[in-house]
């Protein structure tokens, strides 16, 4: 096949794969992809749904400054209520909610009187309690007439409706001031709560909302005389600000990488054409793996895509080897001849890397399995591209550049120097051993996901100030009960609530926000009604006690009649639907095969004790979202680290079989081992923690290290082979270090982690490469095989 035909096929290949991938492109972003057990996955999914979908969509606005801040906050709330990106907004406990509350609860007051009806309701009718209730009612009647206490007095002498109100007041979003608006404890800030309709991470939607919000505030500030201060707390705001900072980081990193890599290729090869040819190989591998992954029934995960791209970065070595070996060839030969000469090493390198990455497919984490398969598809494609497509793009005649010749000469001297001073090898080995022995035991693992990103400091500080004013239930800690239907969930929740109340009274929990404040199971409600009905001489007792406080005999007959013949059925889930109290149902979440009833907790000081209180309840759990995600990350990181070990073992076995010589097999994996273990040892010594992203980056070090080892071992015994191989490795290393090293300069810990782990690990692998050559040569000489 002629080179021009191959070039046309390559262009078509890229065009078809790009078009196909664009059409099929769909990503999954769920963290459950990185959780081994299905049961755990369900809880984590719920945790994520609550924290990421609901709580993360909440925003709190704080208006301080000038005296009319309530008006500005109220007007701002009114504006936002009609904004398409706002699901709901609340500025206080106002008329519509009060009306809905009265309509839903007043006629059902006997159903929701007591958590412990058989014990507590008979006590309501003891003489002392009735006299106290009579005094309280009279205080309400004597108070402001406009309150309307007289309207409900005859139907509710015991103040049952007030009890329900008190219960609900305890779980309000924030305290309300005299005007009914939400306010900070010190009264200096009016508060507005809202929920977003879109994901807070969707910056395309959040930016216009935040802009509109600011414009409206500025208008209101001017309208009410100025001097107001708007502060905001919300994931969306931090996310948009952080994204801005990440974008600028990525722009910086990309610019630095591109400048250095272009400079490098210009220096070494004297043209950008080689850069394009080299970049084509990992791109082909990536696009092929992407197209196949997109054809599979399961949606490709975003993390697989990102790390797959990084993993396939190892294949950039293949065309570099080809270019360099061809340029530094000792005799006049064609590109095809150079390909034939290095083909065994390339194939072995690609096969070892593929098998090493395939070991990820044994992981119990679906995300790691997917990543392993993704890389195992991409690497062979990249190899095939290097062997069959790249030669068609290379010029017939390539001469080594001055830089290549300098590199080659330098390596000749380095290898000769090392051969002359074997003590250096021993010294390097001792230093490595010391680093491993001293560093590995001190290695720290960091699994807290919050450490992977650096939020914008200004937006974060503002958000924290607002959160302090609210003191709400947004800590990500909650209790969950799972049940097959809503009634069973509410029954379970009654048990959960009783235990959490005990925990609150014991100081183990600062606050409890449960649907229990609003809705009980029908069974519990009917128990309440039955308890009222069972009270002996109920109406007579009320009459007797209340008459002594100036009430008329028979004034409360309506109360007794309502108990005997209630006008309403017990309160049910559907009674909240389409009412302004519908958000109560946010705490009862429909799952795939049942319902989850959720209690948000505030300031859990003793999670172990709370967990113990729930331990005897089947399907009741205490969930700490941050801990769950940290556990997921830790499991993922541990599995990845094991897979690196397994991949190294697989590589060693393959190489042992290939070389039929354990020493050469060992030498071929030495750079990979030095790179992966050395970087962990150095991190241990320096106190730099390793996170999940760093662990995955070790796979890149493994892949490139094995390549280095194979080329070094294979080059020994071939004329000029070691020089070509080592100078190829330096170019490959420089390319990698420029790309990954630039990532290490990022302000974002996640990018920094990839950059630091990969660049340090690959550098250590490179340092091991000349040692491999020297030891392999000695071994060859000893066995008299050198040609």
């Amino acid at each position: 096949m002629s080179p021009s035909t191959i070039r046309r096929i390559v262009f078509c290949f890229f065009a078809v794969l790009c078009a196909y991938s664009l059409v099929r492109f769909e990503l999954n972003h769920g963290l459950t992809h990185f959780i081994p057990s299905e049961h755990e996955a369900e809880l984590v999914e719920l945790s994520l749904e609550l924290v990421q979908s609901r709580l993360s969509r909440r925003m709190v606005l704080s208006v301080g400054g000038a005296p009319h801040r309530d008006k500005v906050a109220h007007a701002l709330g009114g504006y936002l209520a009609s904004h398409p990106e706002v699901a709901w907004v609340e500025t206080g406990f106002h008329e519509d909610r009060a009306r809905a509350f009265f309509e839903i609860y007043f006629d059902r007051r006997f159903y929701l009187a007591s958590d412990d009806p058989s014990r507590e309701i008979p006590k309501f009718f003891e003489t002392d309690e009735l006299l106290r209730a009579a005094d309280q009612l009279k205080t309400r009647l004597v108070g402001s007439p406009i309150r309307g206490a007289s309207q409900t007095a005859s139907e509710d002498p015991l103040g049952l409706f007030e009890r329900i109100l008190d219960r609900v007041r305890q779980v309000q979003l924030a305290p309300t001031g005299k005007n009914g608006n939400f306010a900070s404890d010190d009264g200096e800030h009016a508060l507005v709560f809202l929920e977003l309709t879109s994901s807070p991470f969707d910056s395309e939607r959040q930016k216009p909302l935040l802009h509109d919000l600011q414009v409206e505030f500025d208008r209101l500030d001017a309208l009410y005389g100025g001097g107001f201060v708007l502060e905001q707390s919300g994931v969306n705001r931090i996310s948009v600000a952080t994204e801005r900072s990440v974008r600028s980081d990525i722009f910086f990193v990309s610019t630095v990488s591109i400048i250095f890599v272009c400079g490098l290729f210009l220096l070494v090869y004297g043209s950008f054409r080689q850069l394009a040819i080299v970049a084509m190989v990992p791109a082909a591998g990536f696009l092929s793996a992407l197209a196949i992954a997109l054809s599979l029934p399961d949606t490709l995960h975003g993390i697989t895509l990102a790390f797959g791209f990084v993993l396939l970065g190892v294949t950039i070595d293949y065309p570099i080897h080809l270019l360099n070996h061809h340029a530094l060839r000792s005799a006049q030969r064609s590109v095809t001849a150079t390909v034939r000469r290095i083909q065994p090493s390339l194939v072995l390198s690609a096969a070892t890397t593929t098998l090493a990455f395939l070991s990820l497919a044994l992981s119990e984490f679906p995300g790691l399995r997917e990543m392993g398969i993704f890389a195992a598809i991409g690497v062979p494609v990249a190899l095939g591209f290097t062997l069959y497509a790249v030669p068609a793009f290379l010029p017939v005649e390539i001469t080594p550049s001055a830089a290549q010749e300098v590199l080659a000469r330098t390596f000749v001297r380095i290898v000769e120097g090392l051969e002359a001073h074997r003590g250096l090898l021993v010294g390097a080995g001792v230093v490595l051993c010391l680093v491993l022995v001293l560093g590995l035991p001190q290695l720290r693992w960091a699994d807290d996901p919050s450490n992977l990103m650096n939020p914008d400091p200004t937006a974060f500080a503002e958000s924290e100030r607002v959160r302090e004013r609210v003191g709400g239930f947004d800590s990500g800690q909650f209790a969950v009960g799972l049940a097959p239907n809503p009634q069973a969930a509410l029954s379970l929740n009654e048990e959960i609530h009783a235990r959490l109340e005990e925990a609150r009274l014991a100081g183990e929990v600062g606050g409890v926000n449960s649907i229990h404040a609003f809705l009980w199971s029908e069974e519990r409600q009917l128990e309440n009604l039955a308890a009222f009905r069972q009270v002996d001489q109920r109406d007579t007792r009320i009459d007797s006690a209340f008459q002594s406080r100036g009430f008329r005999p028979g004034a409360f007959d309506a109360f007794g009649n309502d108990i005997d013949t209630p006008s309403r059925e017990p309160l049910r889930v559907e009674d909240f639907e389409n009412s302004s109290l519908a958000r109560v149902l946010d705490l009862l979440v429909e799952m795939e095969d049942g319902f989850a009833v959720v209690t948000h907790l505030q300031e859990v000081s003793s999670p172990g004790s709370v967990r113990a209180r729930l331990s005897d309840l089947e399907n009741a759990y205490l969930i700490d979202h941050e801990k769950i995600v940290a556990d997921v990350y830790r499991g993922y990181r541990e599995s990845t680290t094991w897979m690196v070990g397994l991949g190294s073992a697989v590589a060693f076995c393959v190489l042992g079989v290939r070389y039929r010589n354990p020493l050469r097999g060992l030498l071929a994996v030495l750079p990979a081992a030095v790179g992966t273990l050395g970087v962990l040892g150095l991190f241990g010594l320096s106190g730099h923690p390793v996170n999940v992203i760093g662990a995955v980056s070790l796979l890149v070090v493994l892949g490139m290290g094995v390549d280095y080892g194979i080329f070094c071992v294979d080059s020994v015994g071939k004329t000029g082979g070691a020089v070509s191989a080592l100078s190829s490795l330096v170019i490959s290393w420089l390319t990698s270090v420029f790309v990954f090293g630039a990532l290490a300069l990022s302000g974002q810990p996640a990018l920094q982690s990839i950059g630091l782990t990969a660049s340090v690990g690959i550098s250590l692998s490179l340092l091991a490469a000349p040692c491999v050559v020297v030891i392999a040569r000695s071994s060859l000489r000893a066995s008299g095989e050198e040609r």
Binding site: F93, H94, E95, D96, A98, R99, F101, F102, T139, R140, L141, V142, G143, S144, P145, I146, R147, G148, A149, S150, Q151, T152, A153, S154, E162, L165, K178, N179, G180, Q547, G550, F551, R552, A555, F556
Partner: protein, 220 residues
């Protein structure tokens, strides 16, 4: 308990002021006309008046008596301070109503509820002489005889009819002397006003303080 607050209100009445404080206009003959009365009310400045209230509640054997001061400033600001036997306050400022008594404080939006607007807002409408608004909300029956007159208001709103049966306002000349509210449940509240003087003549009457929901000092 905002909704309950909004659906209930008692009547207030104003007794005629002393001759030497507010000069009544010459009353027309043969009797006071509603339009004339409303014109006179509309032309009045703000005022302060003492009140005595008797609440006859179906659940209580004896009525509850209380007394205090009421302030009005056109077009619609009202402040009612009950001083005995228990302190409480009702402030209507713009579209907000603020309540405070021994059981706590609360507020609600006058515009957010038909009932609230029909009951609480009616005092502002009446005292500023807004006849059109009064007719829109109530069926009126006005009877004048010489210097005296009586106005009966029956709510047009069905929601309001469940709470209030009728309100009877009585007066002499351009002054309101008595207001009785008859509730649908049989409760009845009667307010009698006395010692009315223009707000401008009340010593130390700072409008911003009197009509402020946080006002706690001694009343002027």
């Amino acid at each position: 308990m905002g909704f309950v607050a909004a659906i209930f209100v008692t009547g207030w009445a104003i007794e005629s002021p002393a001759e030497d404080t507010i000069q009544p206009a010459a009353s027309p003959t043969p009797g006071v006309q509603l339009e004339w009365l409303m014109d006179r009310l509309a032309s009045r400045p703000g005022m302060r008046v003492a009140f005595r209230e008797s609440r006859h509640l179906a659940v209580l054997s004896d009525p509850i008596h209380s007394e205090g001061l009421m302030f009005f400033s056109p077009p619609g600001d009202l402040a009612r301070y009950t001083l005995r036997p228990v302190r409480s306050s009702v402030i209507v400022r713009g579209d907000r109503v603020f309540l405070e008594d021994a059981t706590g404080s609360q507020s609600f939006d006058l515009a957010s509820s038909d009932v609230a607007r029909g009951l609480v807002g009616i005092f502002g409408v009446l005292l500023r002489g807004d006849l059109a608004e009064l007719r829109r909300r109530y069926v009126l029956d006005f009877r004048g005889s010489g210097d005296s007159w009586a106005l009966e208001l029956r709510p047009r709103s069905r929601t309001l009819q469940h709470i209030i049966e009728r309100i009877e306002v009585k007066g002499r000349g351009a002054e309101l002397t008595r207001m009785a509210t008859f509730e649908a449940n049989g409760d009845r509240t009667v307010l009698v006003f006395e010692d009315a003087i223009p707000l401008s003549e009340v010593e130390g009457a700072d409008r911003n303080r009197i009509f402020h929901p946080d006002f706690t000092g001694s009343l002027p």
